[in-house]
Symmetry: C2
Subunit: 193 residues, 2 copies
DNA sequence: TTCATTCTAGAACAATCGATACAGAATCGA
DNA sequence: TCGATTCTGTATCGATTGTTCTAGAATGAA
Protein backbone atom coordinates (compact mmCIF):
# COMPACT_ATOMS: atom_id res chain seq x y z
CA UNK A 1 0.00 0.00 0.00
CA UNK A 2 1.65 3.14 -1.23
CA UNK A 3 5.03 4.09 -2.57
CA UNK A 4 8.11 3.20 -0.54
CA UNK A 5 10.22 5.84 1.16
CA UNK A 6 13.33 6.55 -0.81
CA UNK A 7 15.26 8.52 1.78
CA UNK A 8 17.17 7.24 4.78
CA UNK A 9 15.49 8.85 7.77
CA UNK A 10 18.64 8.71 9.88
CA UNK A 11 20.63 10.52 7.22
CA UNK A 12 17.92 13.11 6.71
CA UNK A 13 17.66 13.84 10.43
CA UNK A 14 21.41 14.01 10.68
CA UNK A 15 21.58 16.58 7.91
CA UNK A 16 18.74 18.62 9.39
CA UNK A 17 20.28 18.47 12.85
CA UNK A 18 23.58 19.63 11.43
CA UNK A 19 22.19 22.82 9.99
CA UNK A 20 19.88 23.55 12.93
CA UNK A 21 22.92 23.39 15.18
CA UNK A 22 24.88 25.67 12.92
CA UNK A 23 22.32 28.34 12.09
CA UNK A 24 19.63 27.96 14.72
CA UNK A 25 15.95 27.29 14.15
CA UNK A 26 15.07 30.65 12.64
CA UNK A 27 18.28 30.83 10.69
CA UNK A 28 17.73 27.53 8.89
CA UNK A 29 15.42 28.03 5.92
CA UNK A 30 13.46 25.32 4.17
CA UNK A 31 15.78 25.73 1.19
CA UNK A 32 18.77 25.21 3.48
CA UNK A 33 17.09 22.11 4.85
CA UNK A 34 16.43 20.83 1.35
CA UNK A 35 20.12 21.04 0.57
CA UNK A 36 21.17 19.57 3.91
CA UNK A 37 18.76 16.63 3.79
CA UNK A 38 18.67 15.95 0.07
CA UNK A 39 14.88 16.03 0.23
CA UNK A 40 12.73 18.43 -1.72
CA UNK A 41 10.30 20.74 0.02
CA UNK A 42 7.32 18.68 -0.90
CA UNK A 43 8.77 15.56 0.67
CA UNK A 44 9.78 17.39 3.80
CA UNK A 45 6.28 18.69 4.38
CA UNK A 46 4.78 15.33 3.53
CA UNK A 47 7.02 13.47 5.93
CA UNK A 48 7.29 15.90 8.83
CA UNK A 49 4.26 18.16 8.55
CA UNK A 50 6.07 21.47 8.80
CA UNK A 51 9.36 23.06 9.73
CA UNK A 52 8.65 22.68 13.43
CA UNK A 53 7.93 18.99 12.89
CA UNK A 54 11.24 18.43 11.15
CA UNK A 55 13.02 20.31 13.89
CA UNK A 56 11.30 18.21 16.52
CA UNK A 57 12.42 15.04 14.81
CA UNK A 58 15.95 16.41 14.41
CA UNK A 59 16.08 17.36 18.07
CA UNK A 60 14.96 13.87 18.99
CA UNK A 61 17.76 12.52 16.85
CA UNK A 62 20.22 14.78 18.64
CA UNK A 63 18.95 13.61 22.01
CA UNK A 64 19.20 9.94 21.12
CA UNK A 65 22.37 10.01 19.10
CA UNK A 66 24.62 12.82 20.24
CA UNK A 67 23.56 13.40 23.84
CA UNK A 68 22.87 9.85 24.99
CA UNK A 69 25.75 8.61 22.87
CA UNK A 70 28.16 11.00 24.51
CA UNK A 71 26.98 10.06 27.97
CA UNK A 72 27.25 6.37 27.24
CA UNK A 73 30.69 6.76 25.79
CA UNK A 74 32.30 8.99 28.40
CA UNK A 75 30.19 8.81 31.53
CA UNK A 76 28.44 5.43 31.68
CA UNK A 77 27.04 4.18 35.00
CA UNK A 78 29.86 3.44 37.36
CA UNK A 79 32.34 5.81 35.77
CA UNK A 80 31.93 8.30 38.60
CA UNK A 81 33.70 11.64 38.69
CA UNK A 82 36.27 10.51 36.18
CA UNK A 83 33.50 9.78 33.69
CA UNK A 84 32.02 13.21 34.21
CA UNK A 85 35.40 14.81 33.78
CA UNK A 86 35.90 13.09 30.46
CA UNK A 87 32.39 14.01 29.42
CA UNK A 88 33.19 17.66 30.00
CA UNK A 89 36.55 17.48 28.27
CA UNK A 90 34.93 15.84 25.27
CA UNK A 91 33.01 19.06 24.62
CA UNK A 92 36.27 20.69 23.60
CA UNK A 93 36.93 18.15 20.88
CA UNK A 94 33.88 19.04 18.83
CA UNK A 95 34.61 19.43 15.14
CA UNK A 96 34.41 22.75 13.27
CA UNK A 97 35.62 24.64 16.32
CA UNK A 98 32.21 24.74 17.92
CA UNK A 99 30.47 26.21 14.91
CA UNK A 100 28.05 23.35 15.39
CA UNK A 101 26.92 24.24 18.87
CA UNK A 102 25.06 22.12 21.33
CA UNK A 103 21.47 21.99 20.19
CA UNK A 104 20.24 22.06 23.78
CA UNK A 105 22.15 25.19 24.67
CA UNK A 106 21.28 26.93 21.44
CA UNK A 107 17.58 26.17 21.71
CA UNK A 108 17.36 27.02 25.40
CA UNK A 109 18.57 30.46 24.35
CA UNK A 110 16.63 30.81 21.10
CA UNK A 111 13.30 29.60 22.45
CA UNK A 112 13.80 31.20 25.85
CA UNK A 113 12.08 34.39 24.74
CA UNK A 114 8.77 32.61 24.20
CA UNK A 115 6.04 31.83 26.69
CA UNK A 116 6.93 28.62 28.46
CA UNK A 117 10.05 26.46 28.49
CA UNK A 118 10.52 24.19 25.48
CA UNK A 119 9.65 20.60 26.52
CA UNK A 120 12.44 18.95 24.53
CA UNK A 121 14.97 21.39 25.95
CA UNK A 122 13.69 20.65 29.43
CA UNK A 123 13.94 16.90 28.83
CA UNK A 124 17.51 17.16 27.56
CA UNK A 125 18.58 19.36 30.47
CA UNK A 126 16.87 16.88 32.77
CA UNK A 127 18.84 13.99 31.35
CA UNK A 128 22.10 15.83 31.87
CA UNK A 129 21.17 16.79 35.41
CA UNK A 130 20.15 13.24 36.28
CA UNK A 131 23.34 11.86 34.80
CA UNK A 132 25.48 14.32 36.76
CA UNK A 133 23.64 13.46 39.95
CA UNK A 134 24.05 9.72 39.45
CA UNK A 135 27.75 9.87 38.76
CA UNK A 136 28.30 12.20 41.67
CA UNK A 137 26.72 9.79 44.10
CA UNK A 138 29.20 7.18 42.95
CA UNK A 139 32.09 9.30 44.20
CA UNK A 140 33.52 8.69 47.68
CA UNK A 141 33.15 12.42 48.30
CA UNK A 142 29.40 11.99 48.38
CA UNK A 143 29.36 8.89 50.55
CA UNK A 144 27.84 10.67 53.51
CA UNK A 145 25.17 12.27 51.34
CA UNK A 146 22.35 9.88 52.20
CA UNK A 147 19.37 11.82 50.83
CA UNK A 148 21.27 13.09 47.81
CA UNK A 149 20.73 16.76 48.61
CA UNK A 150 24.36 17.60 48.13
CA UNK A 151 24.50 15.66 44.87
CA UNK A 152 21.42 17.51 43.63
CA UNK A 153 22.94 20.88 44.34
CA UNK A 154 26.26 19.98 42.81
CA UNK A 155 24.50 18.58 39.75
CA UNK A 156 22.77 21.92 39.15
CA UNK A 157 26.05 23.74 39.60
CA UNK A 158 27.72 21.41 37.11
CA UNK A 159 24.85 21.79 34.67
CA UNK A 160 25.32 25.53 34.64
CA UNK A 161 29.06 25.08 34.19
CA UNK A 162 28.42 22.66 31.34
CA UNK A 163 26.08 25.01 29.51
CA UNK A 164 28.42 27.92 30.06
CA UNK A 165 31.31 25.99 28.56
CA UNK A 166 29.25 25.44 25.44
CA UNK A 167 28.45 29.14 25.24
CA UNK A 168 32.13 30.05 25.51
CA UNK A 169 33.16 27.40 23.00
CA UNK A 170 30.63 28.76 20.53
CA UNK A 171 31.80 32.27 21.35
CA UNK A 172 35.28 31.32 20.20
CA UNK A 173 37.00 31.19 23.59
CA UNK A 174 40.45 29.71 24.01
CA UNK A 175 40.11 25.95 24.42
CA UNK A 176 43.23 25.50 26.50
CA UNK A 177 41.86 27.86 29.11
CA UNK A 178 38.53 26.08 29.14
CA UNK A 179 40.25 22.75 29.56
CA UNK A 180 42.13 24.13 32.51
CA UNK A 181 38.84 25.34 34.00
CA UNK A 182 37.38 21.87 33.66
CA UNK A 183 40.39 20.26 35.29
CA UNK A 184 40.27 22.77 38.14
CA UNK A 185 36.60 22.13 38.72
CA UNK A 186 36.95 18.38 38.87
CA UNK A 187 40.19 18.37 40.83
CA UNK A 188 38.45 20.41 43.44
CA UNK A 189 35.36 18.24 43.26
CA UNK A 190 37.51 15.20 44.05
CA UNK A 191 39.14 16.77 47.08
CA UNK A 192 35.95 18.20 48.50
CA UNK A 193 35.04 17.72 52.10
CA UNK B 1 22.01 73.16 9.35
CA UNK B 2 19.38 70.51 8.76
CA UNK B 3 16.38 69.30 10.64
CA UNK B 4 16.75 68.46 14.31
CA UNK B 5 16.45 64.89 15.59
CA UNK B 6 13.08 64.30 17.09
CA UNK B 7 13.75 61.00 18.84
CA UNK B 8 15.60 60.35 22.08
CA UNK B 9 18.50 58.12 21.11
CA UNK B 10 18.70 56.55 24.56
CA UNK B 11 15.03 55.60 24.46
CA UNK B 12 15.32 54.24 20.94
CA UNK B 13 18.33 52.10 21.79
CA UNK B 14 16.62 50.89 24.93
CA UNK B 15 13.59 49.78 22.95
CA UNK B 16 15.71 48.10 20.29
CA UNK B 17 17.84 46.40 22.92
CA UNK B 18 14.71 45.12 24.63
CA UNK B 19 13.40 43.31 21.58
CA UNK B 20 16.82 42.02 20.47
CA UNK B 21 17.19 40.45 23.90
CA UNK B 22 13.76 38.91 23.70
CA UNK B 23 13.68 37.58 20.14
CA UNK B 24 17.30 37.48 19.07
CA UNK B 25 18.86 39.25 16.10
CA UNK B 26 17.21 37.17 13.40
CA UNK B 27 13.90 37.06 15.22
CA UNK B 28 13.56 40.82 15.48
CA UNK B 29 12.14 42.24 12.27
CA UNK B 30 12.37 45.84 11.16
CA UNK B 31 8.63 46.15 11.78
CA UNK B 32 9.14 44.86 15.31
CA UNK B 33 11.91 47.38 15.76
CA UNK B 34 9.70 50.17 14.44
CA UNK B 35 7.14 49.39 17.11
CA UNK B 36 9.73 48.98 19.84
CA UNK B 37 11.59 52.18 19.05
CA UNK B 38 8.74 54.39 17.88
CA UNK B 39 10.78 55.21 14.78
CA UNK B 40 9.61 54.49 11.26
CA UNK B 41 11.73 52.35 8.95
CA UNK B 42 12.96 55.31 6.98
CA UNK B 43 14.31 57.00 10.08
CA UNK B 44 15.94 53.84 11.33
CA UNK B 45 17.86 53.37 8.10
CA UNK B 46 18.75 57.03 7.95
CA UNK B 47 20.07 57.05 11.50
CA UNK B 48 21.72 53.64 11.77
CA UNK B 49 22.41 52.55 8.20
CA UNK B 50 20.87 49.10 8.40
CA UNK B 51 19.59 46.48 10.82
CA UNK B 52 23.10 45.43 11.77
CA UNK B 53 23.95 49.06 12.52
CA UNK B 54 20.99 49.44 14.83
CA UNK B 55 21.89 46.18 16.52
CA UNK B 56 25.45 47.34 16.98
CA UNK B 57 24.28 50.54 18.62
CA UNK B 58 21.83 48.60 20.79
CA UNK B 59 24.55 46.19 21.85
CA UNK B 60 26.76 49.14 22.75
CA UNK B 61 23.92 50.51 24.83
CA UNK B 62 23.60 47.15 26.58
CA UNK B 63 27.30 47.06 27.28
CA UNK B 64 27.40 50.57 28.71
CA UNK B 65 24.12 50.56 30.57
CA UNK B 66 23.20 47.05 31.65
CA UNK B 67 26.56 45.30 31.86
CA UNK B 68 28.76 48.06 33.22
CA UNK B 69 25.88 49.30 35.35
CA UNK B 70 25.41 45.91 36.94
CA UNK B 71 29.11 45.56 37.65
CA UNK B 72 29.31 49.02 39.16
CA UNK B 73 26.29 48.40 41.31
CA UNK B 74 27.06 44.96 42.64
CA UNK B 75 30.75 44.31 42.15
CA UNK B 76 32.61 47.64 42.18
CA UNK B 77 36.37 47.66 42.78
CA UNK B 78 37.09 46.58 46.33
CA UNK B 79 33.92 44.57 46.78
CA UNK B 80 35.83 41.30 46.45
CA UNK B 81 34.18 37.93 46.52
CA UNK B 82 31.08 39.32 48.19
CA UNK B 83 30.62 41.71 45.28
CA UNK B 84 30.91 38.89 42.79
CA UNK B 85 28.45 36.83 44.76
CA UNK B 86 25.89 39.60 44.66
CA UNK B 87 26.57 40.15 40.98
CA UNK B 88 25.72 36.52 40.29
CA UNK B 89 22.65 36.53 42.51
CA UNK B 90 21.41 39.66 40.75
CA UNK B 91 21.01 37.62 37.57
CA UNK B 92 18.12 35.81 39.18
CA UNK B 93 16.19 39.00 39.79
CA UNK B 94 15.82 39.87 36.13
CA UNK B 95 12.32 40.94 35.17
CA UNK B 96 10.03 38.90 32.91
CA UNK B 97 11.46 35.64 34.27
CA UNK B 98 14.44 35.74 31.98
CA UNK B 99 12.45 36.18 28.81
CA UNK B 100 14.81 39.08 28.20
CA UNK B 101 17.98 37.12 28.18
CA UNK B 102 21.51 38.39 28.48
CA UNK B 103 22.41 39.92 25.15
CA UNK B 104 25.97 38.64 25.43
CA UNK B 105 24.96 35.04 26.02
CA UNK B 106 22.29 35.12 23.36
CA UNK B 107 24.57 36.61 20.73
CA UNK B 108 27.51 34.36 21.56
CA UNK B 109 25.17 31.52 20.71
CA UNK B 110 23.37 33.09 17.76
CA UNK B 111 26.47 34.41 16.02
CA UNK B 112 28.62 31.46 17.03
CA UNK B 113 27.73 29.60 13.85
CA UNK B 114 29.45 32.20 11.68
CA UNK B 115 33.04 32.53 10.68
CA UNK B 116 34.90 34.36 13.42
CA UNK B 117 33.91 35.44 16.91
CA UNK B 118 31.75 38.55 17.12
CA UNK B 119 33.96 41.44 18.33
CA UNK B 120 31.32 42.99 20.59
CA UNK B 121 30.60 39.64 22.19
CA UNK B 122 34.31 39.14 22.73
CA UNK B 123 34.63 42.58 24.30
CA UNK B 124 31.73 41.98 26.67
CA UNK B 125 33.04 38.57 27.71
CA UNK B 126 36.42 40.19 28.19
CA UNK B 127 35.00 42.81 30.53
CA UNK B 128 33.32 40.14 32.63
CA UNK B 129 36.46 38.05 32.78
CA UNK B 130 38.60 41.02 33.75
CA UNK B 131 36.13 42.04 36.43
CA UNK B 132 36.05 38.53 37.88
CA UNK B 133 39.80 38.39 37.90
CA UNK B 134 40.15 41.73 39.63
CA UNK B 135 37.67 40.95 42.40
CA UNK B 136 39.20 37.55 42.94
CA UNK B 137 42.63 39.04 43.57
CA UNK B 138 41.09 41.15 46.30
CA UNK B 139 40.11 38.02 48.24
CA UNK B 140 42.44 36.72 50.97
CA UNK B 141 42.18 33.31 49.33
CA UNK B 142 44.23 34.61 46.43
CA UNK B 143 46.83 36.41 48.53
CA UNK B 144 49.59 33.98 47.60
CA UNK B 145 48.77 34.21 43.93
CA UNK B 146 51.47 36.63 42.93
CA UNK B 147 51.36 36.29 39.16
CA UNK B 148 47.59 35.96 39.06
CA UNK B 149 47.59 32.58 37.35
CA UNK B 150 45.15 31.12 39.81
CA UNK B 151 42.87 34.14 39.53
CA UNK B 152 42.94 33.85 35.75
CA UNK B 153 41.89 30.24 35.83
CA UNK B 154 39.18 30.82 38.37
CA UNK B 155 37.91 33.79 36.38
CA UNK B 156 37.44 31.59 33.32
CA UNK B 157 35.68 28.97 35.40
CA UNK B 158 33.39 31.63 36.86
CA UNK B 159 32.72 33.08 33.42
CA UNK B 160 31.51 29.71 32.20
CA UNK B 161 29.37 29.32 35.32
CA UNK B 162 27.95 32.82 34.76
CA UNK B 163 27.02 32.14 31.13
CA UNK B 164 25.56 28.79 32.06
CA UNK B 165 23.35 30.36 34.69
CA UNK B 166 21.95 32.69 32.07
CA UNK B 167 21.25 29.77 29.75
CA UNK B 168 19.39 27.92 32.50
CA UNK B 169 17.46 31.02 33.54
CA UNK B 170 16.36 31.52 29.97
CA UNK B 171 15.56 27.83 29.75
CA UNK B 172 13.11 28.24 32.60
CA UNK B 173 15.08 26.49 35.32
CA UNK B 174 14.05 26.73 38.96
CA UNK B 175 15.52 29.90 40.43
CA UNK B 176 15.78 28.63 43.98
CA UNK B 177 18.01 25.81 42.80
CA UNK B 178 20.18 28.19 40.82
CA UNK B 179 20.50 30.48 43.82
CA UNK B 180 21.64 27.55 45.88
CA UNK B 181 24.20 26.68 43.21
CA UNK B 182 25.55 30.23 43.34
CA UNK B 183 25.79 30.16 47.12
CA UNK B 184 27.56 26.80 47.01
CA UNK B 185 30.05 28.05 44.47
CA UNK B 186 30.96 31.16 46.42
CA UNK B 187 30.94 29.50 49.82
CA UNK B 188 33.46 27.06 48.49
CA UNK B 189 35.42 29.83 46.80
CA UNK B 190 35.76 31.58 50.14
CA UNK B 191 37.04 28.52 51.95
CA UNK B 192 39.44 27.49 49.25
CA UNK B 193 43.00 26.59 50.07
C1' DT C 1 13.46 84.95 2.47
C1' DT C 2 16.10 81.84 0.15
C1' DC C 3 18.88 77.62 0.01
C1' DA C 4 21.39 73.67 1.11
C1' DT C 5 21.03 70.23 4.46
C1' DT C 6 19.06 66.87 7.68
C1' DC C 7 15.41 64.32 9.36
C1' DT C 8 10.74 61.91 9.04
C1' DA C 9 7.11 59.22 7.12
C1' DG C 10 5.09 56.16 3.99
C1' DA C 11 4.97 53.67 -0.12
C1' DA C 12 7.13 50.49 -2.63
C1' DC C 13 11.01 47.32 -3.96
C1' DA C 14 13.04 42.60 -5.06
C1' DA C 15 14.07 38.66 -2.53
C1' DT C 16 13.07 35.19 0.46
C1' DC C 17 10.14 33.05 3.83
C1' DG C 18 7.12 28.86 5.22
C1' DA C 19 3.69 26.38 3.17
C1' DT C 20 0.50 24.30 -0.40
C1' DA C 21 -1.32 22.28 -4.80
C1' DC C 22 -0.80 19.25 -8.14
C1' DA C 23 0.88 15.81 -11.27
C1' DG C 24 3.48 11.80 -11.88
C1' DA C 25 6.01 7.74 -10.01
C1' DA C 26 6.05 3.81 -7.16
C1' DT C 27 4.03 0.38 -4.31
C1' DC C 28 0.73 -3.57 -2.67
C1' DG C 29 -3.64 -5.90 -2.30
C1' DA C 30 -7.44 -7.27 -5.00
C1' DT D 1 -4.10 -5.20 -14.43
C1' DC D 2 -6.47 -2.49 -11.88
C1' DG D 3 -7.06 1.00 -8.21
C1' DA D 4 -6.35 2.93 -3.75
C1' DT D 5 -2.61 4.80 -1.43
C1' DT D 6 1.88 6.91 -0.48
C1' DC D 7 5.88 9.27 -1.78
C1' DT D 8 8.53 12.68 -4.75
C1' DG D 9 9.49 16.83 -7.40
C1' DT D 10 8.06 21.23 -9.37
C1' DA D 11 5.72 25.15 -9.47
C1' DT D 12 3.67 28.50 -7.03
C1' DC D 13 1.22 30.76 -3.36
C1' DG D 14 0.55 34.89 -0.13
C1' DA D 15 3.09 36.89 3.53
C1' DT D 16 7.03 38.84 5.33
C1' DT D 17 11.85 40.01 5.03
C1' DG D 18 15.50 43.88 4.78
C1' DT D 19 16.05 47.83 2.15
C1' DT D 20 15.43 51.87 -0.96
C1' DC D 21 13.00 55.77 -2.90
C1' DT D 22 10.71 59.91 -2.65
C1' DA D 23 8.21 63.72 -1.09
C1' DG D 24 7.73 66.83 2.50
C1' DA D 25 8.86 69.01 7.07
C1' DA D 26 12.14 71.27 9.87
C1' DT D 27 16.46 73.51 10.66
C1' DG D 28 20.57 77.12 10.44
C1' DA D 29 23.50 79.96 7.34
C1' DA D 30 23.54 83.40 3.87
Amino acid sequence: MGRTREFDEEAVLKGAMHIFRKRGYQGASIRDLEEATGLKGGSIYHAFGDKAGLFDAAFGHYHRTVLEGRIERFAPPGSGLQGLRELFVSLLHEPDNGSLGCLITNMAVEFGGGAGPHPRVEAALGLLRTTFRSRLTEAPTFAGDADGTKADRTATRLLAFYQGLLVLIRGGDDKAGLRQAIEDEFNQLETMS
